[in-house]
Assembly symmetry: C2
Homo-oligomer: 282 residues x 2
């Protein structure tokens, strides 16, 4: 496995691989790898592609009061995990390599980025789409893999790729969870043991919501309110949002039909966790 810090080095290696007839897969990450990331790598490897993983904590997608500075970083640990999973190349640039001078250009997807995490984190998705565009241009992959824990991000990237005609296939990979149900996230390490225990209410409430849905409940509002009640009753978590939205275009849903997802974001202390469940209505 190769580790590159420089854009030009990545370009050279990718070009060489492509010259040998291999397709290129990109797994963009912010590092501090967990099984969720490694599942993306596993998917990427299925195609026989040369697998590039980017590890870059992108300042552009963090708000001024967010956790950019303390976001966990451990390249040595990540490199071991990535190599074990079959990554061929890690691209781990410094901030100066990605943003050498004042960055004036951004890529933005209207509407889709205004709600849910976009409402709580202004500028976040603009930072994501901008850095992902840069990574797409640097690596020029045939396929790129994104985890569906960030379901809104996944939809936004799909829309961007379609709208701007990126010659790239975007592949969404389902959430990976701990044995007890907590969705994997690099931010889980921020949780105290008590918060870690309380955070299980996210997955539990999504499971309950699925039960209500299976029993015939179709009112989005009713399910949203019942989830909120459950979270409030069974944890000290502070709800950021609980919303049911179309899994195609993120539009608000009143009566559940077609493919929807239930998205939630809850704070435990200063740690904000997200989770979601996709449901297919009749």
């Amino acid at each position: 496995m190769i580790i590159c810090k420089k854009i030009s080095a990545v370009r050279d290696i990718v070009k060489e691989q492509r010259g040998q007839g291999r397709s290129i897969a990109l797994v963009p990450t912010m590092g501090y790898l967990h099984e969720g990331h490694l599942t993306l790598v596993e998917e990427a490897r299925k195609s026989g592609a040369f697998v590039v993983m980017s590890i870059f904590v992108n300042p552009l997608q963090f708000g001024p009061n967010e956790d950019f500075a303390r976001y966990p970083r451990d390249l040595e640990r990540d490199a071991k995990k990535a190599e074990g999973a079959g990554v061929d190349l890690i691209f781990n640039p410094e901030v100066e390599e990605m943003y050498p001078a004042k960055n004036l250009t951004h890529v933005e997807v209207d509407e889709l980025g205004d709600s849910l995490c976009g409402a709580s984190r202004p500028g976040h998705f603009r930072g994501v789409t901008t850095v992902v565009s840069k990574l797409f241009h640097i690596v020029q992959p045939d396929r790129a893999y994104f985890g569906q824990k960030d379901y809104q991000q996944y939809l936004i990237i799909c829309q961007m790729v379609k709208d701007l005609n990126f010659p790239i296939e975007v592949i969404g990979v389902p959430i990976v969870r701990e044995e007890d149900g907590l969705a994997l996230s690099s931010r889980n390490i921020y949780l105290s043991p008590e918060q870690r225990a309380e955070a299980l209410v996210l997955q539990r409430s999504l499971g309950e919501a699925e039960n209500w849905f299976r029993q015939g409940e179709r009112s989005a509002l009713t399910i949203e309110e019942r989830i909120k009640e459950l979270i409030r009753n069974e944890s000290s978590g502070e709800i950021d949002y609980v919303e049911i939205r179309s899994a195609e275009n993120l539009h608000r849903v009143e009566q559940i039909e077609g493919k929807i997802f239930i998205a939630l974001a809850v704070r435990f202390g200063s740690t904000r966790l997200i989770d979601n469940k996709v449901l297919e209505g009749m």
Copy 2:
């Protein structure tokens, strides 16, 4: 020469050419070709590349009260000229091919697009950078050629390519003029014979400005004011702007030093013409 209306057809042909070891050059245009466009093709051919010319009147870069509907279009005439100049492929999509559904994504370069033409034409450069990004992703050229009559546009595209790491070399080609000095523009056909005669004041005033500069004048404000005076005295043109700016970053200049350009936009009736001159200060 091939004419393609479909993105998939362009992609197939470009892929085939690249497979045969040829590099790809892109000349983006809105059609109604003149010698300026053909000079871009001539430059593109020098590299031995497969030359793709896009002809697309992009609705996204026209304001609601601008000339999108009446912008001149004549594919048959353009195809003859393009073939004569050595274009290999014309990409001439319908609006629905480029914007099949609601387009939610845009690419924007901050600051550089706010002044000059951007101030008079809100959203114009955002439309340009968005469609150029799409064309870059569709054609995936090694080099792209832009006329420097739209000097601000050229700088904005350069900035975008640098900021977003497009794997593309942007080549700016100097203004091509009629024998009497009028900068070539597809919009020149809008001019009445009287306006056409009056419009020569643009090139004349830029020439005078160069003389003042050569004689030692270094105050941007003085030169700007003298150009305005000349245009007002010698034509009925309505001045939109006359400004001296850095040719590197578009910043305002007080004392001329380094590489600058004098940019002007003047309306003759409902026709807005632009012109510029690049000067290298000591």
